[in-house]
Amino acid sequence: MDEILEVLVGNGRATPEEIAKLTGKNVAQVKKLISKYETDGTIVKYKAILNTELIPERRSLVTALIEVCIDPQEDAGFDRVAERIYNFPEVTSCYLVSGDHDLLVVVEGDSLNTVADFIASKLAPMAHVRSTRTHFLLKKYKEDGQILKKGAGKKRLNISY
């Protein structure tokens, strides 16, 4: 992977000047490549990873992982049903998976009721959806490669040979 992308994955706020220093490329070159990646969709967007535990109004946020079994359709396979599901803004992630169900759908809502409502009134009754099995998320330990618990800190001395 291009080193520019590696730097950006670690820190989406790195400026072209910083990236140039870190990678040994010149600034113009870095700017050009970043805009190319943004245009061709390699870089989809920049976002922050939050620890929602620390945000009072989001602490009550409910997340559900839903295993969905669907009947594949002629010509479109799973894709058409998947599209109907992932277009709902409540759905934050949607994956086609192997195993005894077909889609793994992640849904977020303000309360248990909102999520339950969405499943009961929108997802489960949808055409071609055969069954759903819902797992409510109880605790997040790690997300996007980031351990969410504040570390005990490294115990290095401040100076040594």
């Binding site: 080193e3 590696e6 730097v7 820190n11 910083e18 220093k21 870190l22 990678t23 040994g24 490294k154 290095r156 001395l157 401040n158 100076i159 040594s160 040979y161």
Partner: protein, 388 residues
């Protein structure tokens, strides 16, 4: 009995003049430290997990003096694959408590009273003392920034007077980050053969080489029998606290070193030895990741320092830069103290690495990028203010 309680040889050892500075740093809070000579990564989890598991299973005993045969075998295979070196794990490899013990053992195994040892300066702080403790006499060969702190074959040729037994060398170097290409090492090897010297080669930072492939001195033609190759797990695998190193060399030298080791150290810790096996078996991806990250920080630090007028050469390895502060007109210890007081940035004054290193400072970039950015900002501000 008050006069000569302490041995003459220890009494004579130069006390570290910057001890007081270190104490100052260690007692200060909220310091950004670029003074640390160890990785800022925690040991990769799979290695820590292996160590924990070994404790759970009750591996808490001594090992054989030379170290666990499984680990020595692993090292032999690794060196063969990595550098084409062939060492017999039974007789030519000794597991030590870090490279530091290896240095001490090597000196004690080789030196008779008065033997001379060539030591390039800037030198890692223990080099001179371990020679002196073994009854030898260090001859310092001064290098400078113009020559990127590289020792030359010519210097060795001129310094290797009668009674010179060995050359100590450390590359990539702590504190300068300097390393040597194969061609440069071949020239050194040639003159070492001419004077019939032994080499104690501390290659602990070999995996942190950025601009070319690392070449072990012992891999050069005709050199294996002259070189004690020292390496360890501290730097490449971020395992400083595990204290595991190893020495490879001619069997009679390894046997002599083992003799001292068995009476003084007995063996390295079993937990560390088990962890080290896991590091060699499964840690290569971690090493590559850390090397990449250090390399980015190296580029950042070298360009930032040069931008603010502190001249430094581009180090080829390790995680140090060694810029000159001569433009400030300050002594390195004063500079370090003043910077610490005014801007709370800690670094190591050059004099720690020898009298000829006055006018330089050692900056370790084994610190998070955010820390480095903040430190650069503060050093820049400090330099601007002191100009006013």
């Amino acid at each position: 009995m008050t006069q000569d309680r302490i041995s003459k040889i220890v009494e004579k050892l130069a006390p570290s003049g910057i001890r007081a500075f270190f104490d100052l740093v260690l007692n200060m809070k909220d310091v950004i430290s670029l003074g640390v000579g160890e990785p800022d990564f925690v040991t990769p989890w799979h290695i820590r997990e292996k160590a924990i598991h070994s404790l759970e299973k009750g591996f808490t005993s001594y090992t054989s003096n030379k170290g666990m045969p499984e680990l020595r075998k692993e090292i032999a295979q690794f060196l063969q694959k990595r550098y084409g070196l062939s060492y017999d794990f039974l007789e030519e490899i000794l597991i030590t408590v870090g490279v530091s013990e290896g240095l001490d053992l090597a000196m004690r195994a080789l030196l008779n009273p008065g033997d001379k040892v060539l030591v390039p300066e800037p030198a890692y702080v223990s080099y001179g003392p371990v020679v002196e403790l073994a009854g030898g006499e260090p001859i310092y060969l001064q290098t400078n920034i113009k020559n990127e702190f590289k020792l030359t074959a010519q210097q060795i040729d001129q310094a290797a007077v009668k009674g010179t037994k060995a050359l100590m060398i450390n590359y990539p170097s702590n504190p300068t980050g300097t390393s040597y290409t194969k061609a440069e090492l071949l020239a050194i090897a040639q003159v070492v053969k001419k004077h019939d010297l032994l080499i104690v080669s501390d290659e602990d930072y070999d995996e942190l080489t950025y601009d070319f492939d690392h070449t072990p001195l012992s891999s050069l033609p005709g050199m294996k029998d002259r070189v004690i190759y020292l390496n360890g797990f501290s730097k490449a695998y971020a395992m400083t606290g595990f204290r595991i190193g190893y020495a490879c060399g001619p069997r009679e030298i390894i046997a002599a070193m083992t003799k001292i080791h068995q009476y003084t150290m007995l063996c390295a810790s079993i937990t560390g030895q088990i962890a080290a096996q896991d590091a060699l078996k499964y840690g290569q991806r971690d090493v590559a990741e850390m090397r990449k990250e250090y390399n980015r920080r190296r580029r950042y630090m070298v360009s930032s320092l040069n931008e603010m007028g502190l001249d430094c050469h581009t180090p080829q390895g390790a995680f140090y830069v060694f810029p000159s502060i001569q433009k400030t007109g300050m002594k390195s210890l004063d500079f370090a103290k003043d910077l610490l007081e005014k801007e709370k940035v800690a670094l190591v004054p050059g004099v720690a690495f020898g009298p000829s290193c006055e006018g330089y400072i050692r900056i370790s970039y084994a610190s998070s990028y955010e820390n480095l950015q903040e430190a650069v900002k503060r050093i820049k501000r400090y330099l601007q203010k002191s100009k006013e």
